[in-house]
């Protein structure tokens, strides 16, 4: 998982996990969210997802949430994470605008 923080470009996996966590989800729900929104194009292995979640927790872009009683750990995006996601959205919008100007459509 290499996210270029300065340039703002996120990996697809990182961006999708951040998007998934605008509402709290546990690991399995994140995986389902990504599979469903990409119609199965992007299917994450559990080991890869685990590594990605831990790296995002470390960066404090996401955090654990909910009471500890629930057996399944849930995660949610932080305000720092939202900032990162918004920056990425703007970057992608700019990019598609430039691309549309050149390619058309």
């Amino acid at each position: 998982m290499r996210d270029n923080v300065k340039g703002g470009a996120l990996t697809e996996v990182t961006f999708f996990i951040l998007l998934a966590l605008y509402t709290p989800k546990h690991g399995y729900a994140i995986m389902q969210f990504i599979e469903e929104t990409t119609s199965g194009r992007l299917s994450l292995g559990a080991g890869t997802l685990y590594g990605a979640i831990n790296s995002l927790l470390e960066k404090e872009w996401i955090e654990p949430c909910g009471d500890a009683d629930g057996r399944k750990k849930e995660y949610v995006i932080t305000s720092k994470g939202k900032e990162v996601a918004e920056t990425e959205l703007k970057r992608l919008k700019d990019l598609t605008e430039i691309a549309s100007g050149i390619i058309g459509g």
Partner: protein, 200 residues
């Protein structure tokens, strides 16, 4: 129907162990317990389950448990398995060396670290734990040092068995197997690292 038990020894050869478990599953045997060498199965529908094995030798005990809990939350069943390399092979040799205060004592920790056998209900889709090229490269990279150390270990053990040519050749053969394993993972590591560079 009663459970069946099988004795298998796969050392560090994870792919072979996984393939065997999947073959057992395709015949209708589901893993219920695994010890050092004994695997216990119960009957199930043929191909009802599918297996993957993950190497967690780089994780601490707490991290390994956390990962296992995460996988269980995903709906998988998880078994801890020793890599088990100290068993029978060179047990005597390196214990003796360790007693002499040799650095080889460190190998015990390398070898005793766990594998995770992960069982998923077969839904017809492929079962992979590591999917992005970056993560796959990281995963294969984890094997390089242990495999190289094992190659060195058995080379040393071989050299120490100089008095018995047959034993010496046997240890060297084992060393070569680990060297081959080292190169297999090295190739996979560089392949996926290159692919991840293209992707990003």
């Amino acid at each position: 129907m009663s459970n069946i038990k099988k004795v298998r020894y796969y050392a560090g050869f994870i792919d072979a162990q996984r393939n065997w478990l999947n073959k057992m599953a395709s015949k209708g045997y589901r893993l219920v317990k695994c010890g050092r060498l004994i695997y216990e199965f119960e009957t199930c529908e043929p191909s009802e389950y599918i297996y993957q094995i993950d190497y967690i030798g780089d994780k601490s005990k707490a991290e390994g448990k956390d990962y296992a809990a995460f996988l269980e939350d995903m709906g998988y069943k998880v078994f801890f398995k020793n890599v088990n390399l100290d068993f029978d092979i060179g047990n005597l040799y390196w214990r003796k060396l360790a007693d002499k205060g040799s650095k080889l004592a460190d190998y015990q920790t390398v070898m005793e670290r766990a594998l995770l056998i992960v069982e998923k209900k077969n839904d017809g889709t492929p079962f992979e734990l590591h999917t992005t090229n970056t993560d796959k490269a990281n995963y294969y990279g984890k094997f390089l040092i242990p495999y190289f150390l094992l190659f060195l270990l058995f080379t040393v053990v071989g050299a120490l068995s100089l008095a018995d040519i047959k034993m010496m050749l046997m240890w060297y053969a084992v060393a070569l197997v680990f060297l081959a394993g080292f190169f297999v993972y090295l190739i996979r590591y560089f392949r996926d690292r290159k692919r991840s560079g293209i992707e990003e």
